[in-house]
């Protein structure tokens, strides 16, 4: 207790409370400095975010717009359906190349109309050089989808090629066109005339989201459809495998397993797995799923399995943490009224841990969604133009994933792919934001605020 010999601190010499002493001033200054550091750190983060978003949005948003030339086209039955059966089988036998004369006729009439309006320099050949190389295929797809239109004259929107499109978006200038073998200044003038004549416009482009990838020379036709489907399939596989396996493993380890050397080893290894570089999982997937189990290359099933392996440690760690956070008194209460261990866990502990488990799962999924390296190794970087079927069959068909598609776009020479890559990043980010929103909504739903 108090030592009587020790002099008690007597009343301090009177100092005004209105006058902070040196020590207090120092402490307050330190606190102010710390707050400033904090605000500086937050601002730096915000600035970085704003810069990143502006750069991606300014580069990527134009990818959602595309330039089209509108023209009337006569779908000549003599070419498309010489036997007059209107049988889709028959029509599909007509070569894509055979559509070319019809398009040329249609463009000639556009050129003549505009020449009549004063655009004297516009020639049909020039117009033909302005539409996309994909136009033939585009028209063929349209005819196959609407065979009843054969024999009629329809309004059709031809994709312009990438240079004209980029000119409309202000990225190709007359100076750069003068140095470019794929476009000349006269075509740019013609494009202006087309816009003035109402035959060309730039509008929202759903095809960027739904269409499959296109070849190196046709950036204007390239889309994310196959990549989106592939990513979606992989996420479904990850969700349906990683969530039950991860949660079951965590519950067993946390609630049932005896603490001994084995569980310690398992615990250490789970933590280590979470830190393993993702490309290692790719090699593992290549060796086991493709070389040994002979699952197909480039298939979402393999990607999904690899990403599941990668996501499991994240989900297990998050689930175990949220199980640990449930107060032990709840377990005691359940056991005390005679619930079995399993009833205590499933009736009381798991519902309380659910928000944490969900958050961990969604974080794991988001991580998996953005993962590129393992997918490169299992062949999902391939050029895939055919949509995979609906699951389960489609899981075994080639597809790509969103991040791999971004990587793919950035590898291509044509500058028009730059905006495509940024556009794909925007789609990826939107996906992530949507997933996080779902996580927040589910958390709110599950969280009992009592």
């Amino acid at each position: 207790m108090t030592d009587a010999a020790m002099p008690l601190a007597g009343p301090a010499p009177a100092k005004s409370l209105h006058q902070p002493d040196a020590r207090t001033r120092k402490r307050n200054a330190a606190e102010r400095r710390f707050r400033l550091y904090g605000m500086a750190a937050v601002s730096a983060g915000l600035v970085a975010l704003v810069v990143l978003l502006t750069s991606i949005l300014s580069q990527g948003l134009p990818a959602f717009q595309q330039t089209y030339i509108e023209a009337e086209i006569y779908l000549d039955p003599a070419i498309l359906d010489p036997n007059g059966t209107r049988d889709p089988e028959e029509i599909s036998k007509v070569l894509t190349f055979s559509y070319k004369p019809m398009i040329e006729d249609s463009l000639t009439s556009v050129a003549e109309r505009l020449q009549g309006q004063g655009a004297s320099e516009l020639t049909p050949a020039m117009l033909a050089g302005m539409i996309s190389g994909a136009a033939n295929a585009q028209l063929r797809d349209y005819v196959l989808a609407n065979p009843e239109e054969i024999g009629q004259t329809v309004e059709f929107e031809f994709l312009t090629n990438a240079r004209i499109d980029q000119y409309m978006k202000g990225k190709v200038t007359r100076e750069s066109a003068a140095l470019d073998s794929k476009v000349d200044v006269a075509q740019l003038n013609a494009a202006d005339a087309l816009v003035e004549g109402g035959a060309m416009e730039t509008r929202f482009n759903w095809d960027f989201i739904t269409a499959p990838d296109a070849s190196e020379n046709r950036p204007e036709a390239a889309g994310l459809g196959v990549a989106l489907l592939g990513s979606l399939y992989m996420m479904l596989i990850v969700l349906f495998l990683a969530l039950p396996i991860g949660v079951a493993a965590s519950i067993y380890l946390e609630e049932f397993a005896k603490k001994n050397v084995w569980t310690d080893i398992i615990e250490v290894n789970i933590s280590n797995l979470a830190a393993v570089p993702s490309i290692v999982f790719g090699i593992l997937g290549l060796a086991i799923f493709i070389n040994w189990m002979h699952l197909p290359n480039s298939a979402p099933i393999v990607g999904g399995l690899v990403l599941t392996l990668m996501t499991l440690p994240t989900i297990i760690i998050a689930t175990r943490a949220s199980l640990k956070a449930v107060p032990p008194s709840i377990r005691d209460a359940a056991l005390g009224v005679g619930a079995s261990k399993m009833q205590a866990v499933f009736h009381h502990v798991l519902p309380l841990a659910a928000p944490g488990i969900l958050t961990g799962t969604i974080i794991g999924l988001a991580q998996a969604l953005g993962e590129t390296a393992p997918l490169l190794l299992i062949g999902m970087v391939a050029f895939v133009r055919d949509y995979p079927d609906a699951p389960p069959g489609g899981l075994f068909e080639p597809a790509t994933g969103l991040p791999v598609q971004v990587y793919n776009f950035t590898q291509r020479a044509d500058p028009a792919f730059v905006e495509r890559a940024s556009g794909a990043i925007i789609v990826l980010l939107v996906f992530l934001v949507v997933m996080n929103l779902i996580a927040i909504i589910l958390r709110r739903r599950f969280e009992r605020r009592w």
């Binding site: 005896k258 603490k259 107060p327 008194s329 709840i330 377990r331 005691d332 209460a333 359940a334 056991l335 005390g336 009224v337 005679g338 619930a339 079995s340 009833q343 009736h347 009381h348 309380l352 009992r448 009592w450």
Partner: protein
């Protein structure tokens, strides 16, 4: 508070728990040494003693709550109505339905008041239909002396009640499974004096239907509510006798020292 007459009737009650030479080890440490005790039916038995003396540990042996602690080992014999509860054929789940427990800190489930009380009967299949379950819930809440306070908000969350109400809700939850013995581990330590008085009154009423074992740090409380008292010290049960005798004329010097506040 209790005349000697009442104390005498208690002696004639049946033996509920018969414990002989109980030893409990936590890993290497020997927490309970050679405890032999007979706990009676329709009696409140209080365990008193300084912190860490093993009274809670011993209490948790009686419904095998110690099983949940990996390193805990129990030796000796504990019989409930003549049956060894540590026999390999005993499922602790069935035992705990007969030996209910109320904990130190009120720990209602984060569910409605109704669901809290109905949980035990539900998992043990004690009721056949909703009406019967309603009845069990009501009678348990009545016995726990909380019915009047919560009857209008049975579907409000149990965690929204005050501390004293929560503890009585936990008592209602424990008696809803119709146990024969009720173990209480310092049930009033988190409560204010008014709530404590309510719970103590309740414990006295519960004695009519149950054998109640209560661990308490408050000697006044032990004197007020119990008929028998056991004094624990350093893992040993020093003395077990009528409460009146323990508090007026203990036979062991250590008991004497403890109740007069000379140590502990």
């Amino acid at each position: 508070m209790y005349d000697t007459n009442e104390a005498k009737t208690a002696v004639q009650n049946d033996v509920k728990f018969h414990c002989s030479d109980v030893q409990v080890y936590y890993g290497e440490s020997h927490a309970i040494k050679d405890v032999s005790i007979e706990l009676l039916d329709n009696t409140v038995t209080a365990f008193i003693g300084p912190s860490g003396c093993g009274k809670s540990t011993f209490l948790r042996c009686l419904n095998r709550m110690n099983d949940t602690i990996d390193i805990c080992r129990v030796e000796g014999k504990i019989d409930l109505d003549g049956e060894d509860i540590y026999d390999s054929r005993v499922d602790p789940v069935q035992l705990r339905a007969r030996v209910g427990m109320v904990f130190q800190k009120p720990n209602p489930f984060p569910k409605s008041i109704y669901d809290n009380v109905a949980y035990g009967p539900r998992i043990h299949g004690l009721t056949k239909n909703k009406a019967e379950l309603d009845e069990v819930v009501e009678s348990s809440l009545r016995k726990a002396a909380i019915w009047n306070e919560v009857k209008d908000r049975l579907h409000a969350p149990g965690t929204g009640l005050s501390g004293g109400q929560q503890q009585r809700l936990c008592i209602a939850r424990a008696i809803a499974t119709a146990p024969e013995v009720l173990l209480m581990d310092e049930p009033c330590s988190a409560l204010d004096p008014i709530a404590t008085a309510q719970v103590e009154e309740l414990i006295d009423e519960l004695r009519e239907s149950y054998s109640v074992v209560i661990v308490t740090h408050s000697m006044q409380q032990a004197a007020r509510v119990s008929q028998k008292t056991a004094f624990f010290h350093l893992g040993v049960m020093v003395e077990y006798d009528e409460t009146t005798k323990i508090f007026t004329n203990p036979s062991d010097q250590r008991t004497q020292d403890y109740i007069t506040g000379r140590f502990g």
